[in-house]
Symmetry: C2
Subunit: 285 residues, 2 copies
């Protein structure tokens, strides 16, 4: 087991199994061939060919595209093709900060291989014997990765919310971190990956934040998504990331990024360059 | 002017102007076509074809390759084809930590487009009004980037030295930072780039370190490579990186990486994702 295995999991996908999903000549996702076939049933909304799936050009703006696709998705949900409906929309675009081309129900995002954005918080505590990190255990009834280990706070980035705004909201809901404490969180970069998961093709950018919490703070979960929290010395976090897949797949990447940024991994260690290179996808044109 | 322009400079090169430089089937660099033609004069050492330049297979190990190529390079230096001889060897490999396939005079490394490794130190001072950074002005007689702004400490990674070992040596030589202070430097990741420069094709990985220095410390240069040092508030460093090319080309990348890691740039700012993606080359197979 190794850090490189955790990274390899997050980069495993078969390009031949997908065709591009396009809006106005821009490729904004990837659709599995079988699902593309299913979308042929909606010719007013999707153009489906061997070369790709397009949103019908008649749906020429954000609102009309979003509304027409939402109607199709509701029908697919009734047929069990889009499980775990969230009632939460994601913006559809390749790069954070661009104008979204449409909005799309979160549960459908991996079915279309659309890029998802999220925010992950490293909750850190500085002590006499070094640094510790708060670890959450996900509730056993979560749709994604039930029972896996997680960050103290992590969440998807819904349409219409800034990253910091979302972080502060999630801090309160997921861990009972008051807004004035959450506001001290420092943005420290991001990780990105593309991998095949039960829910579809995950093509995500996760914005990472570090928050140093006081030693007497104890998180409490308000939304039922967390079973328990515990505070782990950093070497225990490192060993668990390195030697097991107990952490949710993408939490591993954010944690490894932390190990690199904070000097827990150093250039003279084996595989340093490959680990560091593996934490983000190449820039796209 | 913008951060993206600084990044674009470090990624500008013309793939059609080069052919691969190979050792034992591994591509370890890129040679400009004209220089490849020049290497035809040494058929015992280099095999030159349209498909690439190879080191002769008879030179089957590290020592024989290194010695034979060094002899050629000395001859090319006499003809003015390898200027600014350093008398310092770099290891030749694609990834830090791999066994080097040979060693090569530093001045020749960009002529062969071989990957160079280096170490850059952000010298930081925490004050009541925020963070400052030590900035060096390079001596006017430096072969590369004379008179440009630089890190307090930065250096190439010669053959046979560990990264931390090299950092501590450079700290003493370039800025008079005592080993016991330099030892507190924290490895925080790396940046990588490939770009055309007067000296050739630079294909570098720079390991980045942060060192928080006491407020009463003042650097002093011992090797004549620095004209002066000054301590700048971070917003001044940011403006100068963003709005000018006063900093040495690759120092900009390490500084921008610092801005991202320390929260001086945040996800909700424009271009954040493109800036963050631009700080490293994609992973190679």
């Amino acid at each position: 087991m190794s850090y490189l295995e955790r990274i390899a999991y997050c980069r495993r996908w078969d390009p031949d199994a997908y065709r591009p999903f396009m809006i106005e000549d821009a490729t904004v996702g990837r659709v599995a061939h079988e699902f593309a076939g299913r979308l042929r049933a909606f010719p007013e909304v999707f153009g489906v060919s061997d070369r790709g799936v397009t949103v019908a050009p008649e749906l020429a703006d954000f609102e009309s595209r979003s509304a027409a696709v939402a109607e199709v998705l509701r029908e697919l949900e009734r047929d069990g093709e889009v499980p775990h409906w969230r009632d939460e929309d994601y913006p559809v675009m390749r790069r954070w900060g661009e104008a979204p081309l449409m909005r799309m129900e979160r549960a459908a995002v991996p079915r279309f291989g659309v890029r998802g954005f999220g925010v992950h918080l490293n909750g850190l505590v500085r002590g006499a014997s070094g640094m510790s990190m708060w670890v959450a255990k996900r509730a056993p009834d979560k749709a994604t990765a039930p029972g896996k280990l997680d960050h103290i706070v992590a969440g998807g980035q819904p349409y219409g919310l800034g990253v910091r705004e979302n972080l502060i909201k999630e801090c309160e809901e997921e861990a009972g971190i008051a807004p004035e404490v959450a506001a001290r969180a420092v943005p420290v970069g991001a990780v990105s990956y593309r991998c095949e998961r039960p829910e579809g093709l995950r093509d995500d950018v996760l914005f990472c934040y570090d928050l140093e919490l006081p030693a007497d703070f104890a998180p409490r979960n308000a939304d039922g998504e967390v079973e328990s929290f515990s505070l782990w010395p950093m070497d225990e976090v490192m060993a668990r990331v390195r030697d097991t897949d107990d952490f949710k797949f993408n939490v591993n990447l954010v944690a490894i990024d932390l190990f690199i940024r904070r000097g827990f991994l150093a250039p003279d260690e084996p595989d340093y360059q490959a680990i560091w290179e593996g934490l983000r996808l190449p820039q796209e044109a």
